[in-house]
Amino acid sequence: MILSPDKNNQDLLGTLVEFAYAEYGSALEMLIAAKKASSPKLKLGYIRHALDEYRHAGLLFQVLSNQVKNGIGEFKREYKFSPQNVILKGYVDKEGFLVEKFPLKKFVEFVYSNEYLAKESFDYLSKRISDSKSINTLKNIMDDELGHADDSEATLADIQKDELVHHGMAKKFYESKFPAAKLQLAFKREKLKNRFRMFYYKNLRFLTKIFDPILNFIINIFGKVVNLISIPDKNKRNLMSSNSNSVV
């Protein structure tokens, strides 16, 4: 859900922007989870979580603004918040929200692990910030993230209880009660995924260098072909009698 910041990454402002979008993405995930939740209590829990994540996204942009004011880096146009970037940057999958793709238990497990990971990422990030106002802001966000992880644990317990009530399977409840080891496993799995994302991100830049000349070659060939294609002119024509199956 969130990209771990590169400890040696010089682009602090860029990292802050990524964090802000990650928080914004989480807010959307939580809101959609609220809409799908069957119990009013769970629904409210997700909405409260979403409220925090929206606030965090706003605060991170404020931290970014503080850094610019303090002369740490220069503001770039791509730092300006644009909601659609949350999709373009991959923090929300346009093919489906997590709650649509995962069963509820797995979804909560995912949230739990990622909230802990977020806390860890914020730890790294706060070490690179020098002004006290921004450090405080980040500290508050970190506390919230830990709170969310606790909420998730409580939610898991609630879900288990609900299952117990629904199915009357007392024994199963005790057997399947979420053990610490299982959470640790989920935590490690998410951490590994995050590392893989970072690996991919770093190598993407390298791969771009290799594939750019190939793309240029393809454009050279196809560009000439494109130039030869004629697009029909519709002037003076009755548009209602044109071919409705045509894509050109």
Binding site: L28, F75, K80, R237
Partner: protein, 568 residues
């Protein structure tokens, strides 16, 4: 049997559904469901909702119509770029790299949800979809339709002569890159606002300035010999993806583009300069637009005009069309942009199959289509119900009379970009300070963005100078009006600096109409109305969004179809 229309991939994506009688039974903007403002992805959530609600399948779907010709849309810009730029330039590369993210993947995306082999798939022309989205609401023949947007599938401005439902002739058009919309967006970009989103901010800012850069901008775009021409050496939208204006435009204007992170401060020298630039672009847009309208009249001799496309959202320009004597009536759809084009696309499918049109004016009937299933099961935890649905209007009026702000999330949502009462924040418009709180503190809007008034039909003539030819436009806030001198002081809070208001005239049986009727006893004839959303979020859609928004904005009261609620 149903007719589905879809718009997607460039601006806010939408789905629209017409039934066998041509009624708009549902309409969903993807951003309402994904909660990502301006979401242009394939509208999978909207489509999934419609499939579920109406059991859509090859059994009951007559056709699915996409709002443009996908390959033509992709090829046009690419051809221009390949011809005029070095082969490996930014724009060309981007078009190649993102070919599979463009509308060319429509058929593939659709196939994930519907059996495309057994359903008729139509592709309407982009500007025809806009024209039909307007015609859908008005259905008066003959008439002329003017479509002006950034870029459709090849064309940027079109004039369609409509003699009947099956005779819509393209009598004139300007091709990419000669675009009024892209010109306006480029200046929006220059002013540090987001393209496709900040244009209305620039329109608001324009009222604070003088058109001092008019002559400079006139060198860059012209309407000469009935041809619209953009001098692209001033505009980088033909060669770059990260910026719309060129260094040559900076040199021409002799001002630096505004940095988006530095807030506007009214009264500063910078504010004046940028307001002057906005005023110049606005005036030039209006002048060129009026030349296009004149040309439309010259070509067709029609006096009944339809207007759509993204530029038709420029309510300031629309009011000034009253200066054009040859226009007897000007009609706009409630959603003139690309999302509304989904309605036009669905209508294309309807006409194509039935060879007939809908013989009535549909405007009032189709402003709040569809049905939203939204549960209030969590309301007990967060709200106190202070009035049930029988008393809610009366109680809302009482609360408004006590200078409170009320949010509405009432039944279905409006199709267009303007809040017409069902997703609104409303308060007493006779209280200037209260409106300031609503606009600046709650909505966090720039000072140069006005708040709109809503008024009953019977009172409207007493408060505003209305134009007969624009009467339909006042129904859905498509244009502005000037207030009468005698009431100016009384409603100062909803009057913009240029002495105009984007007034909404309400029917007595609409939600705002009922509230206004009830407010009569408190001597409140006008209410201030702004959209119920946080800046950078889409309009509130369901009850979860409503609660989230009242929490984030600190609003106390929420009116829904089940009653009036107060936050605990």
């Amino acid at each position: 049997m149903y007719y589905l229309g879809i718009s997607a991939y460039y601006h806010d994506a939408s789905v629209a559904l017409l039934d066998s009688d041509g009624n708009l039974v549902d309409f969903k903007k993807e951003e309402w469901l994904s909660r990502v403002k301006g979401d242009k992805s394939f509208p999978r959530q909207g489509l999934q909702e419609l499939i579920k609600r109406y059991n859509l399948s090859e059994q009951n779907l007559v056709s699915v119509t996409f709002y443009e010709k996908p390959v033509r849309a992709w090829l046009t810009v690419l051809k221009h770029s390949v011809k005029n730029n070095p082969i490996t330039n930014d724009l060309t590369r981007n078009y190649f790299k993102n070919a599979w993210n463009s509308s060319m993947r429509f058929h593939f995306d659709l196939s994930k949800y519907l059996n495309v082999k057994k359903i008729t798939i139509n592709y309407s022309e982009h500007h025809l979809s806009h024209t039909l989205s307007t015609l859908y609401y008005y259905n008066e023949f003959p008439c002329v339709s003017v479509v002006v947007d950034g870029y459709g599938d090849k064309y940027c401005t079109s004039i369609h002569h409509i003699k009947s439902h099956d005779e819509i002739t393209n009598v004139w058009s300007s091709e990419y890159p000669n675009s009024l919309g892209l010109f306006y967006s480029a200046i929006t970009d220059f002013l540090g606002f987001a393209v496709n989103e900040g244009e209305y901010k620039m329109m608001g800012l324009a009222s604070f300035g003088e058109p001092k850069y008019y002559d400079n901008l006139s060198k860059t775009i012209k309407f000469d010999n009935n041809e619209l021409k953009v001098d692209t050496k001033y505009y980088d939208y033909v060669r770059r993806t990260d910026r719309s204006y060129s260094n040559l435009l900076i040199d021409e204007l002799k001002i630096q583009p505004r940095r988006p992170d530095i807030p506007f401060e009214v009264g500063t020298e910078d504010f004046k300069i940028y307001a002057n630039l906005a005023a110049s672009a606005q005036k030039l847009l209006e002048d060129l637009l009026f030349l296009v309208f004149k040309h439309a009249h010259d070509l067709t001799n029609e006096t009944n005009f339809l207007f759509s496309g993204g530029v038709a959202m420029n309510s300031s320009a629309i009011r000034k069309t009253v200066e054009l004597d040859f226009i007897k009536k000007l009609n706009l759809p409630p959603s003139p942009g690309d999302s509304g084009a989904a309605i036009g696309a669905a209508y294309y499918g309807f006409i194509n199959k039935n060879k007939k049109t809908i013989l009535k004016n549909n405007l009032n009937k189709n402003i709040f289509p569809g049905k939203i299933e939204s549960k209030e099961d969590f309301f007990d935890l967060v709200f106190d119900k202070i009035a049930d649905n029988n008393d809610a209007i009366e109680k809302t009026s009482e609360i408004i009379s006590q200078d409170e702000i009320v949010a509405t999330c009432y039944s279905n949502i409006e199709t267009g970009p303007r809040a017409l009462g069902h997703r609104s924040l409303i308060c007493n418009a006779h209280k200037k300070e209260l409106i300031k709180v609503l606009s600046s503190d709650i909505k966090k809007r720039n000072i140069f963005r006005p708040t709109a008034p809503a008024i009953l039909k019977r009172d409207a003539e007493n408060f505003f100078n209305l134009e007969e030819k624009l009467m339909n436009c006042y129904t859905h806030m498509a244009t502005t009006a000037t207030p009468k001198d005698k009431v100016l002081q009384d409603i100062e809070g909803i009057v913009h600096v240029d002495n105009t208001s984007r007034v909404q005239i309400c029917d007595e049986d609409s939600l705002l109409g009922k509230i206004l009727m009830s407010l009569n006893k408190y001597k409140i004839q006008v209410i201030a109305n702004t959209s119920f959303n946080i800046s950078s979020d889409p309009m509130v859609y369901d009850k979860e969004d409503a609660f989230l928004a009242v929490e984030r904005m600190g609003i106390k009261y929420l009116l829904t179809e089940t009653g009036l609620y107060k936050r605990k």
